[in-house]
């Protein structure tokens, strides 16, 4: 047989491959130059007829050319695929200025968020949440809490009376009264949160229904110092390490009663900003966040406790007011309305 011209085969292959620019053309070159009927495959198959003394050298030569062709084909394929991929990726541009398509989340009510934050602090101190009825007997709302009929304190909480001599609770202190009546073992550490009702003329800042959270701690040996320590802990856990001040207040069911003020975060206690009264605190330098006191001896006696044996700390947080401060909505009526644009904007800017 004639000696195959592998260099000519390689040259022809190289020329054909140089012309190929698509995967299909590459495949055609592969079939023509390395397929079963290609010259290189015929040369490989014809090696058996080559004299034994020439066969190793020729076999090496044919194989080298065949492998060079395979390498070239692979490289050409890879190159073309890379170009094709690059072209495809370029075409697959998406307009990311368009909005995302995941379903937008809703949100919890800001008052409940505040309530949960408060409860989280109280739970760390061992408080557990308890609940009670909203339609309540006046005994638990007033009489048991040292608020007899015609007491001026009843002016503070004008009441919705309902059928049957009952009322809509005007504070969550009713829950405390019910817990004390049940005489659980000491210590008692409970928190009650929920809706309360006031029969007031409703406007942007006054509601007939809003939320409160109250706490009660009953044990032996609780002191005024403990009251201040507990309230400071609660206030600073919720608002950070801002200065706290205490001032006398009056609540019928505590004695002494205290108000807890937090230093105004805007004017830092100065009462004014740039020479004008601070709007956030109305020039006071302080913002009231809590009402509290030592449980009144009359309340203890009402439920059969000896006030010389046990003492108690009661406190209340206006969660509605706290939420309005947190989200910067002074018209609390908006928070209690059902316009969902308000609720959306409380959680998503610019919608």
């Amino acid at each position: 047989m004639n000696r195959p011209d592998t260099q000519a085969m390689l040259a022809a292959f190289t020329a054909a491959l140089a012309e190929a620019s698509t995967p299909e053309q590459i495949e055609a070159v592969r079939q023509a130059h390395t397929g079963k009927k290609s010259e290189i495959k015929l040369a490989l198959r014809g090696l058996g007829a080559v004299p034994p003394e020439d066969r190793p050298a020729l076999a090496k030569e044919v194989n080298d050319v065949a492998q060079a062709m395979e390498r070239a084909l692979s490289e050409a394929s890879a190159s073309i695929e890379a170009r094709a991929l690059a072209a495809r990726l370029n075409e697959e541009w998406v307009d990311l200025s368009l909005p995302g398509l995941a379903p937008p989340r809703g949100a919890r009510h800001p008052v409940i968020s505040v309530e949960e934050d408060c409860l989280a602090v109280l739970r760390q101190l061992g408080f557990v949440r308890v609940d009670g009825p909203e339609v309540e007997h006046p005994y638990y709302n007033f009489d048991a809490l040292n608020i007899p009929p015609h007491h001026p304190a009843r002016d503070l909480q004008d009441t919705f009376w309902v059928d049957g001599g009952y009322l809509l609770r005007s504070h969550t202190t009713t829950v405390q009264a019910r817990v004390l009546e049940s005489r659980p073992p000491l210590p008692i550490r409970i928190a009650s949160a929920g809706r309360v009702y006031r029969n007031e003329a409703v406007d942007a800042t006054h509601l007939a229904m809003f939320h409160q959270l109250e706490g009660l701690w009953i044990d032996r040996g609780l002191t005024f110092a403990h009251l201040k320590g507990l309230l400071t802990t609660i206030a600073q856990s919720l608002y950070g390490k801002r200065p706290v001040r205490f001032k006398p207040k009056f609540y019928p069911y505590t004695e002494p009663s205290v108000g807890v003020d937090l230093q105004c975060g805007v004017c830092e206690g100065e009462g004014e900003v740039a020479g004008a009264p601070c709007e956030a605190c109305h020039g006071a330098g302080w913002v009231t966040i809590l009402g509290a006191g030592m449980v009144h001896p009359k309340v203890f006696r009402e439920f059969g406790y000896d006030p010389n044996e046990v003492s108690g700390i009661a406190f209340g947080l206006g969660t509605t007011r706290m939420a309005s401060q947190r989200v910067g909505v002074s018209k609390v009526a908006l928070l209690y309305g059902q316009d969902l644009r308000v609720h959306t904007r409380l959680h998503r800017s610019g919608v």
């Binding site: 368009l98 398509l101 379903p103 989340r105 809703g106 949100a107 009510h109 409940i112 409860l119 739970r123 760390q124 909203e134 339609v135 309540e136 005994y139 009929p149 015609h150 001026p152 304190a153 002016d155 009441t159 919705f160 009376w161 309902v162 059928d163 049957g164 001599g165 809509l168 809706r195 029969n199 007031e200 003329a201 007939a208 002191t223 005024f224 403990h226 201040k228 320590g229 507990l230 001040r245 205490f246 001032k247 006398p248 207040k249 009056f250 019928p252 004695e255 002494p256 205290v258 009264p277 006071a284 330098g285 302080w286 009144h296 001896p297 059902q338 316009d339 969902l340 644009r341 609720h343």
Partner: protein, 703 residues
Amino acid sequence: MKISVDVLRRYTALPESLRQVRLLLDDLGLEVKRLNPDGHLTLELLANRGDHHCYEGIAREITGRTGGALTTPAVATLTVGESPWPLRLETDLCLVYTATLLERVGEDAGQLTDAQLAPLRAAGLASVLAPVDATNLSNLELGQPTHVFDADTLVGAVTIRLSRAGERAWPLFTAEPVSVPEGTLVIADDVKILAIAGVIGCEESKTTASTRRILLESATFDPVKVRIASRALGIHTDSTARFERGSDPARPLVGAGRVVQLLEGTGAWRRVGESGQVGAWVNPERVVGLSVSAAAGFFGMPLPGEQIVEILGRLGYIAHLSPDDGDTVTAYVPTWRLWDVEYADDLYEDLARSIGYNNTPVALPPVDMGALPSAAELRRHQIDGLLQSFGFYEVFTDGFYGRALIENLGLPDAHPLRAHVQTENALDRAYSLLKSSCFPQAVELVALNQRVKNEQVKAYEWTRTFHPAPQHKLPSGRLSAPCTERRVLWCIASGTDRPRAWLDKSRPADLFFLKGVVEELAVALGLDLQLGPADAEATLADVLHPARQASVRLNGAVVGVVGEVHPSVLKGFKVRKGRPVYLELDEDALLAAPSQAVVFEEPSELHPIDRSLAFSLPPKVEAGLVSEALRAAGPPSLIRVNVVDLFEHEEAGVALRTFTFALTFQATKGQALSADEVNAGCEAMIAAVESGEPGARGVRLRR
């Protein structure tokens, strides 16, 4: 109360700057609500401290802190003797009543000085006539309300009594006489009511510029009686504010003396004879004991008995430390504090106020390990999170509504949704009924949002409904509540399931959307929560679409309802767009049910075999019927039956729905599954559907 800092300085020394005065007053519980640069303050006074309603009371509280001297206005000394006017006391609800007669010296009616009138100006009161100004000043300065009658309008004796049925009086500043509730404490002469005791005087006996003789009243009335009269007549005055908190029963002659001092000082008026008095208040000398060691323990700081005695003395108590035990302080309560000091705890408050609430120690009581949220609280958080992930916003609705809202439902009078507990005194008619259902407010929410062009509505609420219940006597002797309270979770959705989508069309947030929410709740909470047949007796059955509602069942028991809002209701509420859907669940049932553990099955490594079958269903035949028949007839290798497509068409004039059911078969280890076996299984399932109940109701395989 509005006061002037400059006037207050006449009573006691104050810090120089207004800012420091404000801080001092705040610290004493005399909270400054408004501070004007001119030194006028608006104070919010504590409800139990009637004695704070005057300059002297405020100044006394300040001296209790500062230890400064207290200077009080000059007071003419009045002596009680033969009454200048016949007085008759017919009730013990007036503790003491004094009357002093003054007459005009000449034509001049007198005029108080600018300096004297300063408290009036600070309080926003106009100067009227010298006698009236003097009574107002006495109240502002010393906290003793007084009143002057034109003595020449009085007929017969002045009587302090309770009003009789049908009596009328003409209070000052009212256009005409008003009915006085029977039993009101009044001051009257023989023919008319002269004043509502402690509240206001009357027109017919008022002092005018031409008055020549005035009868000056100064008294102490029962606080509750004054308060009731004030509320019944809707009249609230500075006098009421003072009397209803309990006035100082030792002070009527002092207050009258201040008025006399001021009027005689004008040179235009002089006393006639002595003062008359009826009623004989005797100081019961309230004594409160206090243990020095207990007080020290209460505050957590050393508090010597001598210091306690000294502080209480500054506040007007007469206090002694027992020389026997050195621990017992005996404190005689001053007459102006008889109404609010009763226990040692009250003295603690006075001590704390004097020392400064911010000057006592602070200590956190010992606490043990904190508590975790309860299982119910955690579950509620889970539900919140899931609803929010579907786009729901938590909202609040009122616990009540008005009749107008219920009328929108268009229900007959006897319908259970019309049964309500009513509020008796709501200022607003929109609060007249305690809500027995959340549904009306939920639909109103959709209407409200549509009115503001917001058609995307997904809202939920945890709330309560109130259901009338017969009252019965409890062991305490009290009557039970007039209603039961049911805790519910409700959701309403309207608009699309996925707002703000731009790439493809969103689906409406319809009943299937809410059904999906229920199914996901079931998965998330591990509950057997499923939709079941609608309950025709359910209270919401009539306000939901009759063919698009279902019960929600937990372990087979009904715990809620889901459905599309009835078109008539939408019309009643003027909801013009969309088909809102409503879900209501019983909160207690939802939060209390134990979760079921998920039974895990490891996925097979063998490839499943999929087939699909399409069945045509006549109207009102449920696809679930076919699914169930397929499952029942399928071989053990059948692991899933899913509806994957719906094709609605008509054949021979009958509207058909053709559903494609995707069937998944799974071989198990050691048990190969051939295509022939799967095909045979499918044939058996087809036969079961067509020969069973689905077939009997017209279901056919679509080939």
